[in-house]
């Protein structure tokens, strides 16, 4: 099967170019296996990967135009020639390895931890099953970056717009019954950029390899903001 892989070496190349590789496909082969095979053919080829089972979120790449996790993308589902590029919009460090600093900075900016005003109890803070259910579809995010780097609003304003990943996380903590910083979190999201650059394009929903829905989370944040404003 033919693979076209984006290559870029900052010491040598002015801009990225595509290089063709021929890889023998076996039954059950994932895209990560194909990338490893390409690396066997040319050891200067660089890409990130670790767990190999869709948990660590390291091997996000752009495959035939869609952001995917290579390790859980069956090669059999892909149309040949398979075009593999780094995440769009991110500065390329080498080949498929991109600089995700802005993505992590946006994650950090939404204060992804529980904030308590009350004194901490001796034991754990209890939640009802219903309160716990509100976190389903939110806590599963593995920060692979497939969503935010598929978002046009994040391409245009990655320094100011939080992006779908960070906003999903923002809602994950707003929705948490144990968190007591609702007003502070909502105030921090006001303004035209951080939250409101989202135009519900929904590329994030299509891209998420975990089947999460950042657009819905963003809608919940807007609704909560409105409730608290009137």
């Amino acid at each position: 099967m033919k693979f076209l892989v984006s290559r870029y070496n900052p010491d040598r190349d002015a801009k990225p170019h595509m290089q063709a590789f021929e890889v023998e496909v076996w039954r059950g082969m994932m895209l990560r296996d194909a990338l490893l095979e390409i690396k066997r053919q040319d050891e200067s080829f660089a890409f990130r990967h670790s767990c190999g089972e869709g948990v660590c979120g390291s091997d996000g790449v752009n495959v035939n135009g869609s952001n995917r996790l290579a390790c859980i993308t069956p090669v059999a589902d892909l149309k040949a020639p398979v075009e593999i590029r780094p995440f769009p919009g991110r500065p390329i460090i080498r080949d498929l390895v991109v600089d995700m600093s802005q993505f992590y900075a946006q994650y950090k900016a939404v204060e992804p931890w529980l904030v308590r005003e009350d004194p901490m109890p001796e034991q754990e803070i209890l939640q009802s099953p219903a309160e716990r259910d509100r976190l389903d579809g939110l806590y599963e995010c593995i920060l692979c970056g497939c969503c935010s780097t598929a978002c046009p609003s994040f391409w245009w304003n990655p320094d100011k717009f939080h992006g779908p990943q960070a906003l999903l996380t923002a809602w994950r903590f707003l929705a948490d019954s144990r968190d007591q910083a609702t007003e502070h979190r909502l105030d921090a999201l006001e303004g035209p950029y951080r939250l409101f650059r989202c135009h519900t394009i929904m590329s994030c929903v299509e891209a998420c390899p975990k089947g999460l829905n950042p657009t819905r989370a963003i809608g919940h944040i807007k609704q909560l903001m409105l409730e608290k404003a009137i």
């Binding site: 609003s153 245009w156 006001e190 303004g191 035209p192 939250l195 409101f196 409105l226």
Partner: protein, 113 residues
């Protein structure tokens, strides 16, 4: 005044005006389809009715506000140089105000003539 341009307000305004524009347009289409006015005199009498006149004025204002939020969004997304962005925003405001004044003038004239 806040240093930040509005986020929530603009978003709510866009949705609220969209609702009104949608409803008014449906009503307008209904009238044009089932009970269209014949001749200028009937048009004028229709818009001279205070209720219809006010509803139309609100419609015009809604379109202006809706267009303002939408165009502002596009310019914020795509136009990065500050000078160019401010110039374009100012031109859009002037254009929208001109349109609004022209439309309002027509509505007022209808009541005077």
């Amino acid at each position: 005044m806040s240093r930040k341009a509005s986020g929530l307000k603009a978003w709510v305004l866009q949705r609220a005006t969209a609702l009104y524009i949608g409803l008014f347009t449906l009503a307008l289409l209904g009238v044009l389809l089932f009970d269209p006015p014949h001749g200028y005199a009937q048009w004028r009498d229709g818009f001279a009715d205070p209720l219809i006149g006010i509803a139309t004025l609100v419609y015009i204002v809604s379109i202006l506000l809706h267009a303002w939020v939408g165009v502002r969004d596009v310019l914020i997304d795509y136009v990065r140089p500050l000078g160019l962005r401010v110039t374009l925003l100012a031109l859009v405001v002037l254009g929208l105000v001109a349109c609004g004044l022209w439309a309002s003038q027509s509505l007022i004239l209808v009541r005077l003539v």
